[in-house]
C-alpha cells in the first residue's frame, strides 16, 4: 500500500473537484432520494384515501388554510440568493488562497506527459478510448450524449413527477438517468482521474505509479477467438455479433420498459418514433458497459472489424 502515491494523486489541486465529487454526488443523490421518499409516502396516503386527496394541499411542506401560496421575491428569495452568493464567494476565496492553480513546464511537443490526461470532465471520454476507437469514443458517443440529453423531455411520455421529487412514479426514468450520469459518466471520470496512471494502465488506489510497469496481456479480436481469418467473413461475423447485441439489448430494454402495469401504460402513451429513439439510445448506452466488460474480463479488442472501421 503506497500511501504517498495515493496522497499525491488525491491532493493534486486539479483533482479536488473529483475528490469533491466522490462526496458531493452521493450527498445530493441521498438528499434527493430522501425528498422523493417523503413525497412517495404522501402519494401512498392519498391513493389510499380519496377523500383526503380531494382536500389535501398535496405537498409534504406544511400548509394551512389562510396561508399565502406565494411569497414576495423581495425579501424571501433575494436574501437567499444574496446569502448563496456570499457563501460561494467565501468558499472560492478560501479555495483560491489555500490551493494554487497548477502550472507545469512550458509546452514542449517533444516531451510527452505520461500520463497525459484531458481536463477532468473529459476523462470519462478519454477512458472510453480504451474500449472504443477514437471516432466512437471521441466523436459519436459525445454527440449521442448531447442528443440523448436534449431529447429526454420529448421521449419521456410519463406526465407524473412534474415539479416534485418522486421515485415511485418515475422508477425507469430515474434509474436510466442515474445509470448514465452516475454509473457511467461520473464513475468513469473517477476511474480516469484516480485509477489510470502512466501508459493509461490500471493502478488500484494505493498502487505505485510505476513508469516501467509492463502488462503482458494480449487483446484479441472476437473473430480471432472464434477462428475466422479472412474478409469478408470477418466483417459479416462482426456485423452479426453487433446486430445480435442490439437485438438482445433491445429485447432486455423492452422487458424493463414493460415490466410493470404502470410502465406499460406509459408505453401506450408513446409514439412509435419516441419508442424507437428511446430504444436506440438505451441500446447504445448499454453497449458501453458491455464493451467494457468484454475488454476488461475477456481481453477482446474489437468485435467488428471491417476494412473501413472497427467497433
Amino acid at each position: 500500500m503506497d500511501w504517498h502515491q495515493l496522497w499525491t494523486i488525491v491532493s493534486l489541486p486539479d483533482n479536488i473537484p473529483i475528490v469533491g465529487m466522490l462526496f458531493i454526488i452521493p450527498f445530493f443523490t441521498w438528499y434527493a432520494v430522501r425528498q422523493a421518499r417523503a413525497n412517495d409516502r404522501l402519494l401512498e396516503r392519498l391513493e389510499n384515501d380519496p377523500e383526503l386527496a380531494k382536500t389535501h394541499h398535496r405537498k409534504v411542506q406544511p400548509f394551512q388554510k389562510g396561508w399565502v401560496r406565494e411569497v414576495a421575491v423581495w425579501p424571501y428569495l433575494l436574501r437567499m440568493e444574496f446569502l448563496a452568493a456570499i457563501i460561494v464567494t467565501i468558499i472560492l476565496m478560501v479555495w483560491s488562497i489555500t490551493l494554487d492553480a497548477p502550472l507545469e513546464e512550458p509546452a514542449n511537443p517533444s516531451l510527452t506527459m505520461n500520463p497525459s490526461k484531458a481536463p477532468w470532465y473529459f476523462l470519462g471520454l478519454q477512458e472510453m478510448l480504451v474500449y472504443f476507437d477514437p471516432w466512437i469514443a471521441g466523436v459519436v458517443m459525445p454527440t449521442l450524449i448531447i442528443i440523448g440529453l436534449i431529447v429526454i423531455p420529448y421521449i419521456d411520455a410519463n406526465p407524473l413527477g412534474n415539479g416534485y421529487y418522486t421515485y415511485k412514479q418515475r422508477r425507469f426514468a430515474i434509474w436510466a438517468f442515474i445509470f448514465g450520469f452516475i454509473i457511467l459518466w461520473c464513475s468513469m471520470i473517477v476511474i480516469g482521474t484516480l485509477i489510470r496512471g502512466p501508459g493509461w494502465m490500471w493502478f488500484w488506489p494505493g498502487m505505485t505509479w510505476d513508469h516501467n510497469r509492463l502488462i503482458f496481456e494480449i487483446n484479441r479480436d472476437l473473430h480471432e477467438i472464434v477462428g475466422i481469418t479472412s474478409q469478408p467473413w470477418i466483417g459479416i461475423f462482426g456485423g452479426m455479433v453487433v446486430g445480435g447485441f442490439m437485438v438482445v439489448a433491445g429485447y432486455a430494454c423492452h422487458r424493463i420498459i414493460t415490466a410493470t402495469e404502470f410502465s406499460r401504460k406509459i408505453l401506450g402513451r408513446m409514439s412509435l418514433l419516441q419508442y424507437a429513439i428511446l430504444q436506440g439510445l438505451l441500446v447504445i448506452m448499454l453497449a458501453l458497459p458491455v464493451k467494457m466488460a468484454a475488454r476488461l474480463l475477456f481481453r477482446i479488442k474489437y468485435v467488428w472489424v471491417t476494412p473501413w472501421f472497427n467497433v
Binding site: L46, A101, E104, M113, Y164, W308
Partner: protein, 309 residues
C-alpha cells in the same frame, strides 16, 4: 462680476455694516438675507436627516423601501438587475432543499469567471513567446495575480460541477416536463458550452498540462467520421491532416501558435457570447414557462389525462 459691471456698484449705495432692519444686506448688488439663508440651510439639513425624501434619491430609487406588497413588487419589477425575477414565488421554492440553488450558483460563477477573466486578459498575450511568461508574471509580480488566476481556475471547476448538479436536480424533479421541454434542451447546450469554455481555457497558460490535454482532446477530432483524416470514410472523402476538422480547430496540423490564438478567441469572445445568448433565452424561458417548476402539488396516477395527439 464686479469687473464687468462697475456701474452697478456706483449706482447703489454701499451696504451698511449692520445691514438693514431685516438683517438683509446687499453685496455687489446681490441681496443677502442671513435669516433666509439660515432657513434654507435648515431645510437642507432637515433633508439630510431623511435622505430618502430627496430628489436625487427619488430619481434613482423610484420605489419606497417599505414593507407594503406594492413596494416589494415594484422594487423587483422596476429594477433592471432583478427584473428577471417574478414579483412573487411559490412559498416552498425559496427553501434550499428543492432547487439546491445550483442554477443560480452556476450563473454567479459565470459572473465571477467573467470578471476574473477580464482582469486576467489585461496581463495576457495569446502568443507562443509571451503566454507562459505572462502566467509566471501573474504568479509572481502582479498584485493579487496568483489569487486572480487561482480564483478563475477554481471557479471554472466549480461551475462545471454546479452545472452538472443543476441538470441532475432538474431531472430528478421532472422539471423538464411539459411545458419546459425546450428549456431543458437550451440547458443542455449551456452545459456543452460550459465544458467547451473550460476546455478552451485549458490551453491558454501554454504549459505542458494544457498542451497535452488539448493534444489528446483534439486528436479525437482526427477520427471524426467523414470529416477527420483518420476517421471512417475520412480519407475516402479526401481528408488529410491539412484540411480536416482538426485543422480547422487548431488552425494548423499541430497544437501551436494558431491553436493558442484560436483557443483564446473562442475562450474570451465567441463561446462566452454564445453562452450569454443561450443564458438569456434560458432565463427568459424559465419565466415564460411558468417560473420555477416546484415544489408542485403531487399528481396521482389515476389523474393522468389521456394523450392528445
Amino acid at each position: 462680476m464686479a469687473d464687468n459691471n462697475p456701474t452697478d456698484v456706483k449706482d447703489k449705495p454701499a451696504a451698511p455694516a449692520g445691514g438693514n432692519g431685516n438683517g438683509a444686506r446687499t453685496l455687489l448688488g446681490v441681496t443677502i438675507d442671513p435669516d433666509e439663508i439660515k432657513k434654507k440651510a435648515q431645510i437642507d439639513l432637515e433633508g439630510l436627516k431623511q435622505p430618502t425624501k430627496t430628489e436625487v434619491y427619488k430619481s434613482i430609487f423610484r420605489v419606497k423601501h417599505d414593507q407594503t406588497a406594492r413596494s416589494r413588487t415594484l422594487g423587483v419589477l422596476s429594477n433592471v438587475f432583478l427584473h428577471l425575477h417574478p414579483a412573487k414565488v411559490n412559498r416552498d421554492a425559496v427553501r434550499y432543499n428543492f432547487t439546491w440553488g445550483m442554477g443560480g450558483i452556476s450563473f454567479y460563477l459565470f459572473w465571477v469567471l467573467t470578471w476574473t477573466g477580464v482582469l486576467l486578459m489585461f496581463y495576457y498575450h495569446p502568443t507562443k513567446v509571451q503566454a507562459f511568461r505572462d502566467i509566471l508574471y501573474l504568479e509572481h509580480d502582479v498584485p493579487f495575480g496568483k489569487l486572480l488566476r487561482n480564483m478563475h481556475r477554481w471557479a471554472a471547476h466549480a461551475m462545471v460541477l454546479t452545472v452538472q448538479l443543476h441538470m441532475f436536480r432538474v431531472f430528478l424533479t421532472g422539471s423538464y416536463k411539459k411545458p419546459r421541454q425546450f428549456n431543458w434542451s437550451v440547458g443542455v447546450i449551456l452545459l456543452v458550452l460550459t465544458l467547451l469554455l473550460s476546455f478552451t481555457g485549458y490551453l491558454l497558460p501554454d504549459d505542458q498540462l494544457g498542451f497535452w490535454a488539448v493534444t489528446v482532446g483534439t486528436n479525437m477530432a482526427r477520427a471524426t467520421p467523414m470529416l477527420g483524416h483518420e476517421g471512417p470514410f475520412g480519407p475516402e472523402l479526401g481528408m488529410t491532416p491539412f484540411n480536416d476538422v482538426r485543422f480547422a480547430l487548431l488552425g494548423g496540423s499541430i497544437v501551436d501558435a494558431n491553436a493558442l490564438l484560436r483557443a483564446y478567441i473562442w475562450h474570451c469572445i465567441a463561446i462566452p457570447g454564445f453562452a450569454a445568448i443561450f443564458m438569456i433565452v434560458h432565463f427568459w424561458r424559465v419565466r415564460k414557462d411558468g417560473g420555477i417548476s416546484g415544489p408542485a402539488p403531487i399528481m396521482l396516477e389515476k389523474e393522468i389525462k389521456p394523450v392528445r395527439r
